[in-house]
Amino acid sequence: MPTTYYIVLSFVLFLIGTAGVLVRRNALIALMGIELQLNGGNLAMLAFSRELGDLKGHVFAFFIIALAAAEAAVGLAILVALFRGRQTVNLDEATLLKR
C-alpha cells in the first residue's frame, strides 16, 4: 500500500484522539485520547520509516511507546491523587490552574 494511506490513517487516529481529549469530561477517557494521539504519531513514524527504508523511525516509535508508558503511569497516578483530593475525575471541576 502507498505510504499516503498510512499517513492519512495516522492523521485520522490523531484527530480522534484530539477530539477525545477536547470534549470528554472524564479524565480517564481524555488520557485514552492522548494514547490515541501518540499511536497516530507512531503509525506515521513507521510508515515513513518503510518509505525511506530507514530503521531510525522504528527506534523512535520504540521510544515513543516507552514514553507513552511513562506518561500513562504518571498521568494515572495524578488522576488517583485528584480523586483522593476531591472525589471526582471530572476535568470541568479541575480548574486549579486559574488560581
Binding site: T18, L22, A30, L91, A94, T95, L97, K98, R99
Partner: protein, 742 residues
C-alpha cells in the same frame, strides 16, 4: 544707555516670593520689613534712575536693560527688555512711592488680619507686575505685567475669600478684564503682522513712517479702515477693560470688596491707569488715526459724565470713590484721546495722590465706624477724626478742582486741551468741543458728588449712627495717619509740577511737560485766552458744584435733597441702581452664554465625554476583559482548544500564496504589464501564476513567472484576474484589477 532696571521689578517679586515661602511663620514686623523694604528699595532704584541717570539719556530713548531673549521663532524675536524714559519713569515713581506709603498704611489697617503675610506677598507681587507693565520695552513684556496685575487684582479683591460675594467680585473683575485682554492681544497681533515687530520703539518708528500701518484693512466693506485704526481700537478695548471705561467698567465698583488699601493702590492709583499709560505709550500709533482718537476721547468723556452721575446717589463710601475713579479715568482718556498726552499723564499723576488719599481716608473712616462704609449713618466726624478730616479736605478740594490744589491744574489742562486740540480733521471737528463740554459737566458733577460725600461724612453736629458705633469712633493709629498726611501734601502741591507755564510766560516752569517732551512730543500750545477762559470756567464749575452740594447736604441731609428725592423717586432709584447696567449685561450677555455653556456641557461633557468616552472606554475594557477571562478559565481542555485554533490560524496565514496587496499594472498603449510579486525581492516560494487578462476564465499566460505581458486587440476597460497557486500547500488566491487601455 543701559541701567540695572531689572532691579526695580525684581525686588518686589523677590519680596513676594520670600513672603509666600516663609512669611507664614514670621512675626508681623518681619513681614512688614521685608515687604516695605522690597518696595522701598525698588523706589530708591527708580529715583536714582529717574533723577540721576535719565537726564543724560532722555533724548536717546531713555534707559534700557535687556535681561535676555525671551522667545525667538523665525522672524519673531522678543527680548525680555525694560526701558525707562520720562513716561515710564514717572509711573515707576508713582507706583513705588505710593506703593510704599500703602504698605505702611496697610500695616495698621490689616493689623488684626490672620492672613497678614499673604496680603503683603500679594501686594509685593502686584507692585512687581505693575512695574513690569510700565517698564516693558515690548508689547508682550508689557502684557506679562498687564496680566500679572490682573491676577493680583483678582487675588486681592477676593482676599477675604470666605465670603462668596468677595470671591464673585474677584471673578467678575478677572473675567471682565479677560474680554479686554482679548482686544489687547488682537491689537498686538495686528501690529506684529503689519510692522513685523512688537518692540514699542520699533512700532513707534514704523508709525512715524506711516506706510505699513496705513494700509486699508477690509477694503470695500463698512469696516474699511487703516490698520492703525483697528490696532489702536483693539488696544483701546484692552484699555477699557483694565481702566474700567464704558462698556467694561462694571467690575470696578464690585472690586471695592477687597481691603481698602488695595482699592487705593490698585483700583485707584496704579493698575486702573494702565490703560491710560498704554495709550500714551502708543501715542505714535494713535496719532496716525484721528478716528480711533475720537473714539478714545468720546468714550472717556462719556464715562466721566456717566460715572459721575451714578456717583450722585451712591450711599457707600467706597462705591462713591469707585465711581469717582471711573469718572476720573474718563478724564484721563479724554485727555489722551484729544492728543493731550501730557495732560492725561499729568492727571494720572495728581489723581494717584488725591484718590489714594481719599481711599485711605475711607479706610480710616470705616476703621473708625467699625467696618461700615454707609455714609447715611455718618456725619459730624470732623472733630472725632481730625487728621483724617484734614487729609480728606485737601484731597476733596484737589479732586473738585479748587484753584492751586493739584486737580485744578491737571483737570484744567485736559478741558482746555480738549477745546484747543487740532488733531481732529474734517468731519471730526466737533469731537474736541463736544468732549470739552461733556467734561465740564462731568467736572461739575465731580464737585457735586465729592462735596456731598464730604458734607455727609464730616460736617454736621451729630453722627447718625447707633450709640454703640458712636462710642467706638476713634482716630486711626500713626501707621495709617502718616501715609495720609504725605498723600495730602502730594494732593495739595502735586499740581505745581505741571504749572501752565505758557500762561505765565515761563514755559520752563512746566516741569512735567519739559520732562515728557522727548517721549510724548512738545506740549500742545493753547492760546492764552482759551486757557484763561477755561481756568475761570472750571473754577466757577467747581465752586458751583460745591455750593449746590452745600445747599443739599451741608451739615447733613437738607430740605432740598429730600424734596428732590420726593419729586423724582424713580430717577433717583435708577441712579442708585447704577442705571441697571449690570442687569442689562446679565440679560444680554451673561444669560445667553450661560445657556450656551449649559448646552455644551450637556452635549460635550455629559454625552460625549461621560457617556461615550469615559463609560464607553470602560465598557470596551470590560468586554475585552470578559473575553480574556473566558480563555483563562483554568480548564486545560479549553487551553488546548485555543492552542489548536491558534496553530490552525498560523498555518493558514503561512500557507497562503504570497501575493501583493494590489497588482502592479503598467499600461503603455494597448499593452499592459502585470506584476504579481509581493515586494521587490523575488519570491523564494515556487508558485504557479495564471494571468487572465480579460477575466473570461481562460488564462492567457500561465507559469511560474510572477509577471506577464499582454497586448489587447482594442481599447477599453478590462478586468485582469491573476490566480496564484502554491502547489506545495494546495492553496490558491486570486487578485483582480480593472485596467483601462486607450
Amino acid at each position: 544707555m543701559t541701567f540695572n532696571l531689572r532691579l526695580i521689578p525684581l525686588l518686589p517679586f523677590l519680596g513676594a516670593a520670600i513672603l509666600m515661602l516663609f512669611g507664614r511663620k514670621w512675626k508681623r514686623d518681619t513681614v512688614l520689613l521685608v515687604a516695605a523694604g522690597a518696595i522701598a528699595g525698588s523706589c530708591l532704584v527708580a529715583v536714582d534712575a529717574f533723577f540721576t541717570a535719565l537726564p543724560a539719556a532722555a533724548s536717546k530713548g531713555g534707559l534700557h536693560d535687556v535681561v535676555g531673549t525671551w522667545m525667538a521663532a523665525g522672524s519673531l524675536k522678543i527680548d525680555l527688555a525694560l526701558r525707562l524714559d520720562a513716561l515710564s519713569g514717572l509711573l515707576c515713581l508713582i507706583i513705588t512711592f505710593i506703593g510704599f506709603l500703602i504698605h505702611i498704611y496697610s500695616s495698621g489697617y490689616m493689623e488684626h488680619d490672620p492672613d497678614y503675610p499673604r496680603f503683603f506677598a500679594y501686594l509685593n507681587l502686584f507692585c512687581g507686575a505693575m512695574l513690569v507693565l510700565v517698564l516693558g520695552d515690548s508689547l508682550p513684556v508689557m502684557f506679562i505685567g498687564w496680566e500679572g496685575v490682573g491676577l493680583c487684582s483678582y487675588l486681592l479683591i477676593g482676599f477675604w475669600y470666605s465670603s462668596s460675594a468677595n470671591a464673585d467680585a474677584g471673578k467678575k473683575a478677572f473675567i471682565t478684564n479677560r474680554i479686554g485682554d482679548l482686544g489687547f492681544l488682537i491689537g498686538m497681533f495686528l501690529l506684529y503682522q503689519f510692522t513685523g515687530s512688537l518692540n514699542i520703539p520699533e512700532i513707534t518708528a514704523a508709525a512715524s513712517g506711516g506706510g505699513a500701518l496705513m494700509q486699508t484693512l477690509f477694503p470695500g466693506t463698512i469696516f474699511a479702515a487703516p490698520v492703525a485704526f483697528w490696532a489702536a481700537l483693539f488696544l483701546f478695548i484692552g484699555a477699557t477693560g483694565k481702566s474700567a471705561q464704558i462698556p467694561l467698567y462694571v467690575w470696578l465698583p464690585d472690586a471695592m470688596a477687597g481691603p481698602t488699601p488695595v482699592s487705593a493702590l490698585i483700583h485707584a492709583a496704579t493698575m486702573v491707569t494702565a490703560g491710560v499709560y498704554m495709550v500714551a505709550r502708543m501715542h505714535a500709533l494713535y496719532l496716525l488715526t484721528p478716528g480711533a482718537m475720537a473714539i478714545v476721547a468720546c468714550v472717556g468723556a462719556l464715562t466721566a459724565l456717566f460715572a459721575a452721575i451714578i456717583g450722585f446717589a451712591q450711599n457707600d463710601f467706597k462705591k462713591v470713590l469707585a465711581y469717582s475713579t471711573i469718572s476720573q479715568l474718563g478724564f484721563m482718556f479724554a485727555g489722551v484721546g484729544t492728543a493731550n498726552f501730557g495732560a492725561g499723564v499729568f492727571h494720572l499723576f495728581t489723581h494717584a495722590f488725591f484718590k489714594a488719599g481719599l481711599f485711605l481716608c475711607a479706610g480710616s473712616v470705616m476703621h473708625a465706624m467699625g467696618g461700615s462704609g454707609d455714609i447715611t449713618i455718618m456725619g459730624g466726624l470732623r472733630k472725632k477724626l481730625p487728621f483724617t478730616h484734614g487729609v480728606f479736605l485737601v484731597c476733596w478740594l484737589a479732586i473738585c478742582g479748587v484753584p492751586f490744589f493739584s486737580g485744578f491744574f491737571s483737570k484744567d489742562s485736559i478741558i482746555s486741551g480738549a477745546f484747543g486740540t487740532e488733531i481732529f480733521g474734517e468731519g471730526l471737528l466737533w469731537v474736541g468741543k463736544a468732549v470739552g463740554v461733556v467734561l465740564m459737566l462731568a467736572a461739575l458733577g465731580t464737585a457735586f458728588y465729592m462735596s456731598r460725600l464730604y458734607f455727609l461724612v464730616f460736617t454736621g453736629s451729630e453722627t447718625r449712627a447707633s450709640d454703640e458705633i458712636k462710642h467706638h469712633i476713634h482716630e486711626s493709629p500713626g501707621a495709617m495717619v502718616g501715609p495720609l498726611v504725605v498723600l495730602a501734601v502730594g494732593a495739595a502741591l502735586g499740581g505745581f509740577i505741571g504749572l501752565p507755564g505758557g500762561l505765565l510766560d515761563h514755559p520752563e516752569w512746566n516741569l512735567l511737560a519739559d520732562r515728557l517732551a522727548p517721549v510724548l512730543g512738545p506740549e500742545m500750545e493753547v492760546s492764552r485766552s482759551i486757557e484763561l477762559g477755561f481756568m475761570v470756567a472750571s473754577v466757577v464749575l467747581a465752586l458751583g458744584g460745591i455750593g449746590l452740594a452745600y445747599l443739599f447736604y451741608g451739615g447733613g441731609y437738607r430740605e432740598p435733597s429730600r424734596k428732590f428725592a420726593a419729586a423724582a423717586p424713580r430717577f433717583v432709584r435708577l441712579v442708585q441702581d447704577k442705571f441697571r447696567i449690570d442687569e442689562l449685561y446679565g440679560l444680554l450677555i451673561i444669560r445667553p452664554i450661560k445657556r450656551l455653556a449649559k448646552g455644551v456641557f450637556f452635549v460635550v461633557d455629559r454625552i460625549l465625554i461621560d457617556k461615550i468616552l469615559v463609560e464607553g472606554s470602560g465598557a470596551i475594557v470590560g468586554v475585552l476583559a470578559r473575553m480574556a477571562r473566558a480563555v483563562q478559565g483554568g480548564d486545560v481542555q479549553r487551553y488546548m482548544a485555543v492552542f489548536a485554533i491558534g496553530a490552525a490560524g498560523i498555518v493558514y496565514l503561512a500557507t497562503r500564496p504570497s501575493v501583493p496587496d494590489v497588482l502592479k499594472v503598467t499600461v503603455s498603449g494597448l499593452s499592459v504589464d502585470v506584476d504579481a510579486r509581493r515586494g521587490s525581492k523575488p519570491a523564494s516560494r515556487v508558485q504557479d501564476y495564471s494571468f487572465d487578462f480579460d477575466d473570461d476564465g481562460k488564462p492567457e499566460v500561465t507559469g511560474a513567472a510572477p509577471a506577464a505581458h499582454h497586448a489587447y486587440p482594442r481599447a477599453g476597460t478590462y478586468t485582469v484576474r491573476v490566480q496564484v497557486k502554491d502547489p506545495n500547500w494546495g492553496t490558491s488566491t486570486s487578485l483582480k484589477q480593472k485596467v483601462e487601455v486607450r
